[in-house]
């Protein structure tokens, strides 16, 4: 019998690839933002708002990673973003190798900011570094303010958390202060911005933050 000892960490290769992507994008002065949330929290709608707000100043592209559909890429394209739909083939999260393939297929020479719309899932997207410079997680009001208690990791790895659908606050008993406190206990560096992607409200601080990060690259 022949035995080959590997002692190989399954996450290691992903980390190396992710660091490579991050550095390459930085060298080209391009910012990448990984957007995570449960299904239906408003990732695509929020991205449309961001693209609108940045239009004329920054060219935006989106890697859409639904398990199997292409509606989101069409929505982004209609709103003036450059988009590519990746079919993750049953994979429940984006990883660095898939991100790299997506970036190559999309072509990023003519864009300044790239967003990844990760698979709608709060568990494993948080475990896999995509090579993005910023992790942004959306928590929508109907999901409840206890999500940070149930899925801590995604909030721990996030630089920015958006509370979306605040227009629906009256219907749901979502406590913004409590949710914010829960997030800051997990991650004291997180920036929290309440928004309504539907009503186009609350995006100014987020847009300023993105522009600042772009200029810092």
């Amino acid at each position: 019998m022949t035995i080959l000892e590997l002692k190989q960490n399954i996450f290691k290769e992903n980390e190396v690839t992710a660091d490579g992507i991050r550095k390459e994008l930085k060298d080209k002065s391009k910012l990448m933002i990984n957007v995570m949330s449960s299904p239906g929290s408003g990732k695509t709608t929020t991205l449309c708002r961001i693209i609108e707000a940045l239009s004329g100043k920054y060219r935006v592209a989106v890697l859409e990673c639904d398990i199997d559909a292409s509606v989101d890429a069409e929505t982004i394209a209609k709103n003036g973003g450059k988009a590519i739909q990746l079919h993750t083939g049953g994979m429940c999260h984006m990883d660095a190798a898939m991100t790299k393939q997506g970036l190559d297929a999309l072509g990023i020479d003519d864009v300044d900011i790239i967003f990844i719309e990760n698979v709608g899932n709060l568990v494993c997207p948080a475990e896999f570094d995509t090579g993005a410079h910023i992790n942004l997680t959306i928590l929508s009001v109907p999901e409840g303010d206890d999500k940070p208690a149930k899925y801590p990791l995604v909030y721990q790895v996030s630089d920015v958390v958006l509370f979306n659908k605040i227009d629906a606050m009256e219907v749901f008993d979502f406590d913004i202060e409590l949710a914010k406190e829960r997030i800051l206990t997990l991650n004291s560096n997180a920036l929290v911005f309440p928004v309504s992607a539907k009503n186009k409200e609350g995006f100014e601080p987020l847009i300023s933050y993105i522009i600042k990060k772009c200029e810092e690259l």
């Binding site: 022949t2 035995i3 399954i10 494993c124």
Partner: protein
């Protein structure tokens, strides 16, 4: 939760090792999985038995799982304790300033090929 996802990585990695070593058939692969890695043995085995058929080299590969104990460390009294039994609270001093030392692993330990006799 993401057993299927990680199964693809195992297939990818062992296939690569097999190619590098001129092996065309792997009989077993042994994984080391920490108790708090979030992966469930039975689900992983199910995913494996489906995914292995996608590649010739892993077609008949048996999956062996070795679980590694999760151990936490208490900052207050500097002692170690079992994470599964006590969670985040130190059983010796009751302190909550503890962190995971190990138990989060997901390693491919080794692959094996039986002799052709």
């Amino acid at each position: 939760m993401h057993e299927l996802g990680v199964t693809f990585y195992v297939v990818r990695d062992v296939k690569k090792v097999a190619e590098e070593n001129g092996i065309d058939r792997i009989d077993f692969v042994t994984l080391e999985i920490g108790e708090v890695s979030g992966v469930i043995n039975e689900q992983l085995t199910d995913c494996w038995n489906w995914a292995r058929k996608k590649e010739k080299v892993t077609e008949n590969t048996e999956l062996i799982i070795e679980n590694l104990e999760a151990v936490s460390f208490c900052e207050c009294c500097q002692r170690e304790f079992g994470t599964i039994d006590y969670g985040k609270t130190c059983p010796y001093c009751g302190g909550g300033n503890t962190y995971l030392l190990r138990g989060n692993e997901f390693n491919i330990k080794e692959i094996g090929v039986y002799d052709n006799t």
